[in-house]
């Protein structure tokens, strides 16, 4: 996994607004914070705060350039290997699952480009939260005047924005150079794809947030994370399009939240979903995003009631 993530955890404390890190308007963030809660101005302030948190996360991840390049190269190498395996499969069975061989190869490259952005493997804020459970810093997070879930969602969106660019562009370009890919010419499709990726990140966040919160009860969510990795890799369509799963397994995979991570955004980009099907796809993602965020919120309430801080 990324070294950047572990290293990032070290610096996270420095980016807390409490330290007077300048906000986007150049004022120290802490200075404006007392107003939060004063209706409209307060809400604007909160919006700016979350934006600043996201920007901070974006900058933090962009610091580790060598790690980013190394990761993008790894995605590209896997893209090459898996593209050939798909070509062989589609050569044996043309039109399998409704994809032609060009679409199948495109599927591989797009899924490799999205893998880190939507954090199919877990990670991102999870590594930081886990470390904060271990050190006990989690207690500080809970009495901050910033919402716990909102804080981590903002950092994860900032991270994802960076990864979409840094881990997505190189594999896509390499794939387009070495293979014949089918990418949409219509900018509207790209716009809808970006929206689907945003929703995919929120769904992924919702899942990872629930996993991280188990740390309140289990002290170590490592085991659960390992299990989730297996489930996510399989049911997201990362390894094989869900349409190729046999029988009930395919039907199950289509309704589980992990389909929102890779399968739906990729199908939208491949224009296998168009018109009304785009809306149902986005609606499916939105539904799971809302459900998971609500579940995370409920779990957070339960967890904060039970938390016991052992002195300082």
């Amino acid at each position: 996994m990324d070294t950047s993530v572990e290293a990032a955890a070290d610096t996270s404390a420095q980016l807390r607004p409490e330290r007077g890190e300048p906000g986007p308007d150049g004022r120290p963030e802490g200075a404006g914070r007392q107003d939060i809660g004063r209706q409209d101005a307060g809400r604007r302030q909160a919006g700016r705060l979350y934006l600043a948190i996201a920007q901070g996360a974006f900058r933090r991840y962009s610091t580790y350039r060598a790690a980013t390049v190394a990761g993008a190269v790894t995605n590209t190498v896997f893209g090459f290997i898996l593209a050939y395996t798909f070509l062989a499969l589609w050569q044996a069975r043309p039109g399998l699952g409704g994809y032609d061989s060009v679409q199948a190869v495109t599927y591989i490259w797009i899924s490799q480009s999205l893998l880190v952005t939507v954090a199919v493997w877990g990670g991102g804020f999870q590594d930081e939260v886990q470390e904060r459970f271990r050190t006990g810093d989690i207690a500080i997070d809970l009495y901050r005047p910033v919402d716990f879930q909102g804080w981590w969602l903002a950092t994860d969106l900032g991270r994802a924005a960076f990864h979409l660019f840094a881990r997505g562009v190189l594999p896509t370009l390499a794939g387009a150079l070495a293979f014949s890919l089918t990418l949409p010419a219509d900018p509207l499709v790209w716009a809808v794809f970006l929206l689907a990726v945003l929703l995919a990140v929120v769904v992924s966040f919702g899942l990872r947030f629930l996993v991280s919160l188990t740390g309140f009860w289990l002290h170590d969510s490592e085991g659960i994370r390992a299990v989730m990795l297996v489930v996510a890799m399989f049911f997201s369509g990362m390894l094989l399009p869900i349409g190729l799963f046999p029988g009930w397994l395919g039907e199950l995979a289509h309704v589980l939240p992990w389909a929102a991570l890779i399968q739906i955004p990729t199908d939208i980009l491949l224009e296998r979903r168009s018109g009304f099907a785009v809306l149902t796809g986005l609606g499916f993602q939105l539904l799971w995003a809302v459900l998971l965020l609500a579940a995370g919120r409920a779990a957070q309430l339960l967890a904060t009631r039970k938390v016991v801080v052992q002195g300082g």
């Binding site: 290293a7 090459f80 390992a226 297996v230 190729l244 046999p246």
Partner: protein, 277 residues
Amino acid sequence: MIADETRSAKARWALRSWWLVAAMWTRATMAYRASFFLMLAASLAATSLDFVVLLLMFQHTDRLGGWSLAELGFLYGTSGLCLGLANLFVGSVDALGDRIRTGTLDTMLIRPAPALAQLCAERFSLRRLGRPLQAVAVLVWSLTVLPVHWTADRLLLVPLLLVCGTVIFSAIYIGGATLQFWWGEARELQNSLTYGGATLIHYPPTIFAKELVAGVVFGVPLAFVNWLPALRILDRPDPLGLPTAFQYASPIAAALCVLAAAAAWRAGLRAYRGTGN
């Protein structure tokens, strides 16, 4: 080190150091038994996913690149077993960059034991047995269903390729990790050679571009882990048309890999300057 110590005594001491550190970590992880078995099970499941994908692919076809599922099982089992054992023995070496950053490499360098042996054994965990265990299961299955015409050389090639393959992957782990002496954050780069390489040789060479196959014969010699010996064992034509001697040449490839990794490690250690903490 004492001047008149022989090479073999040094090697024995390196192995013993590895063993002592690994045994210490095993005792430590076994203190949390339930957690250990959970993680072992998770690792088994995670590393089996690649084979599940193969099974699903073969739901839709009975040949991939002209090879059957049992033949792919042989490639998968040998590749997974070699990578898994290499990961078990030396996989921890990829934390080198972190050790340089935090300064803990300095601690290892001043201990009276070879630094490389300590690095490889640090955080040793038997839960990494997940990959080799499931690979053995697939390999045994494939060997029972494959109609191999067993001759003396084919019987000998199987254990030989497992040993040489493990050595080749171990050398790639160590050689890849030494890049972190110069490029501290490049940890993930070696994943493309280790995990990426193992994924590559799960599949038959016939499905890849000839340039790619040539690259893993003459460049990073992954083809010697299982592709080339498997051509002989499974009696398949070589897509590159190389001389048959290549199919027996895994030990030479493994020896070259070890030499290259050792040279890289020495060069890296010479170039290393402590971070001063």
